[in-house]
């Protein structure tokens, strides 16, 4: 009977495809949140598999902080073109211009928190009732408590203490008008699973994930890439480093790691040997012990 066993990557793949199909079956207007990071790229890859040979039955939504790496935007646009997919962009800059959001000030200013406002406004504007995100439970302790189908009230809030129980593979996507769901098809994937799958499936990844030379500043152990969004503080200086990014977010808060990993195989070996979590280099998670939970309750990704 040994041949009737799926290996862990194929089982995770089967689970995620099931979840993505369930979203399209249960909701009227789903959308796939696409950040240009590895998790959303893998999620998109799975979504394409879930519906082929038909086209994707939902658009992609990118919340653009205006502080993205140019590489991320180029990669996004190429992929969208290649898949003949529909892309909706929610702009944080526009939210600020309209007075919906106010820019943070200070040397650690970031638009990370502001994304929530733009995200919720965009979901409402287009009437999206289910937003699929690439969040994984292994990323962060508040995310470890997430459901696959995560209910959001009319304010977009998450109530972690009062979540619907989720059993077997029976997903309850019922809601009233004005509420929506966040769905996490990659819930059970780890960082390692994602990279192994990228290798197995030969999925193209943005160049930022591979080691390259870049000017960075070391701020309390977080290596931030040189950009117009980072102002040097006293005693800081730009240094040329050989780095790569383990996660890709805003230029203002995504830390790099010193690395020589040039191929997916190298990255897998690096992840296997890593002694800190991938979000260990995210300044946005370091604001407090429960900063992820606090942001998620408000409607963050």
């Amino acid at each position: 009977m040994q041949r009737y066993i799926l290996n862990h990557l194929r089982e995770l793949e089967a689970e995620s495809i099931f979840v993505i199909r369930e979203v399209v079956a249960q909701f009227e207007k789903p959308v796939l949140l696409f950040s240009g990071g590895k998790d959303s790229i893998v999620m998109l890859h799975l979504a394409v598999k879930a519906f082929k040979p038909a086209k994707l039955p939902f658009p992609l939504l990118h919340i653009d902080t205006g502080h993205n790496f140019q590489e991320t935007l180029d990669f996004r646009d190429n992929l969208v073109k290649e898949l003949d997919a529909r892309l909706v962009v929610g702009s944080v800059q526009e939210s600020i211009n309209k007075g919906r959001a106010a820019e943070e000030t200070g040397s650690n200013a970031s638009r990370n928190v502001l994304q929530t406002i733009t995200l919720l406004d965009t979901l409402e504007e287009y009437g999206f009732d289910a937003a699929m995100g690439g969040g994984r439970r292994d990323e962060e302790k508040a995310r470890a408590k997430e459901r696959f189908f995560s209910h959001r009230d009319e304010f977009g809030q998450w109530d972690p203490k009062n979540q619907r129980p989720e059993l077997w593979n029976l997903f309850n996507g019922r809601k009233i008008q004005g509420e929506h769901f966040r769905v996490f098809p990659l819930s059970n994937w780890t960082e390692m699973d994602v990279w192994q799958y990228v290798l197995l499936e030969n999925i193209e990844m943005p160049s930022l994930y591979f080691a390259h030379d870049r000017e960075c500043v070391n701020r309390k152990g977080v290596l931030l890439a040189k950009s117009e969004y980072i102002r040097l503080m006293d005693g800081e200086k730009w240094e040329k480093m050989h780095i790569r990014f383990r996660t890709i977010g805003d230029m203002s808060c995504t830390g790099a790691t010193v690395s020589n990993a040039c191929t997916i195989e190298d990255i897998i070996q690096e992840v296997a040997a890593a002694r800190v979590t991938e979000r260990g280099s995210r300044a946005d998670d370091k604001r407090s012990e429960t900063s992820m939970e606090d942001r998620k309750k408000e409607g963050y990704f």
């Binding site: 399209v24 439970r137 470890a144 972690p160 203490k161 059993l167 192994q196």
Partner: protein, 424 residues
């Protein structure tokens, strides 16, 4: 690529297990030990819980903080909700559903158990088999978890005494004989010191069995899913709007049981029409056979009217078709189950409404006795009920197939999931 396939990185099995224990049984310590010894705790995680432990005035690093992620849990020092943890060894990838052990949290245990291949039940060697142990064993059996591992913990506090271990084993077996668990194993451990968790204990040479980690890595899970009775709940119909696929009509879904092959004669429920499978498309392209739990797209020889909620089965092996279901329900909401009440009911990809016709008995999960005098079914209660659905369901007994034998009940006013049911 080849060196990764060779050393197994890309070809591991996935084992899902749940952990159950009473408060202070050392469950968090055990999980911490498994994660720590398999090098799955990262330095920044360890540093974060070390600082938290310090802030809380605790002298040792509290590994429970690894699993208690929510603010309220940290403040109250209790686990409120199921937390999922991940680790891998070169042999397997593991998903732990870590469920709180408090009396009132049966619903979380049921949730964690619903997808598990294996349950670890922790027993404090000083206390032996207590009511909560029985409750955990009962839930593991009710939820059809194929493998149960009883870890008799804190052996260090009973001088690694063999007689204590044997007595607890006998007590547990006595109780478990009334349950339906196929595979029970016992391991004497000390999670705190690591005895028999990952490394074999030097202090219990009388124990000839495997360590917990060895067991988790090697236990045979290939027969856990039903590979005999073919069940394919249609999840979604794929119809590309492109000229080149003008005639394409694919039925997408996840195989709930059995093995399907192109050429198989199949029947579609509820219509009862029969046809043959023309092709099966897997995520990697066409496949010669497809089995549970694969997500595939099935194409049929004949053009039939098939939609979400229908089920494709083998002609000579059909599930039960009925509007009347007998289920063991675990109630998951403070608002009580209403006799004659109407609920939304989800089963595979079918969604309908149902009315609760009868509450037959409640189960006292400490004694396993049936209670017929008190039929109020509230949060965490387990009861046998009968419901009638608005249209026929196609189902199997939960014991035969956890996927085609399970339902959830939803309150139609609040949309909350209020009950989980196993079809009898």
């Amino acid at each position: 690529m080849s060196n990764f396939s060779n050393n197994g990185y890309l070809n591991m099995e996935l084992l899902r297990f749940t952990t159950a224990g009473s408060v202070d049984d050392g469950k968090s310590t055990l999980i911490g030990r498994l994660l720590y010894d398999s090098k799955s705790i990262f330095e920044d995680q360890y540093e974060a819980i070390r600082l938290s432990s310090e802030r809380r005035g605790e002298h040792i690093v509290n590994l429970a903080l690894l699993t208690d992620g929510l603010r309220a849990e940290r403040e109250q020092g209790i686990t409120i909700d199921v937390a999922y943890r991940y680790f891998a060894t070169p042999k397997r990838k593991f998903i732990i559903a870590d469920t709180p052990g408090h009396v009132q949290y049966t619903r979380n245990m049921v949730t964690g158990a619903s997808t598990a291949n294996l349950a670890i039940i922790l027993v404090d060697a000083r206390k032996g088999v207590i009511e909560q142990t029985k409750r955990h064993a009962f839930i593991a059996s009710l939820l059809g978890i194929p493998h149960v591992v009883v870890c008799v913990n804190k052996m260090d506090l009973v001088d690694y005494d063999q007689a204590t271990f044997e007595r607890i084993k006998k007590d547990f077996q006595g109780f478990a004989s009334k349950l339906n668990v196929q595979d029970i194993q016992f391991i004497p451990i000390s999670a705190l010191h690591g005895d028999n968790v990952v490394k074999k204990s030097a202090k219990m040479d009388w124990y000839m069995g495997a360590t917990l980690m060895y067991l988790l890595e090697t236990i045979h899970i290939g027969s856990d899913l039903n590979l005999v009775d073919c069940r394919f709940p249609v999840q979604y119909v794929i119809r590309p709007h492109a000229d080149e696929y003008h005639d394409y009509r694919g039925y997408a879904g996840r195989i709930a049981g059995g093995v399907f092959k192109p050429g198989d004669r199949v029947m579609v429920l509820p219509s009862g029409f029969t046809t043959r499978i023309k092709a099966i498309d897997g995520p990697e392209g066409p496949v010669k056979e497809a089995f549970a739990p694969m997500s595939v797209t099935i194409r049929l020889e004949d053009e039939l009217d098939v939609s979400r909620g229908d089920m494709i089965v083998r002609e000579n092996n059909v599930p039960k078709v009925s509007q009347d279901l007998n289920i063991m329900v675990c109630w998951m909401h403070p608002r009580r189950l209403q006799l004659k009440g109407k609920y939304a009911i989800h089963h595979t990809t079918q969604q309908a409404r149902c009315v609760v016709k009868n509450i037959l008995y409640k189960i006292d999960i400490n004694t396993l006795h049936r209670k017929q005098e008190d039929l109020e079914v509230g949060l965490n209660d387990i009861a046998r009920i009968s419901v009638r659905t608005t249209r026929p369901f196609f189902f199997d007994k939960y014991q035969l197939n956890r996927s085609s034998g399970s339902v959830i009940l939803i309150d139609e006013n609040t949309n909350e999931t209020v009950g989980s049911g196993m079809i009898i």
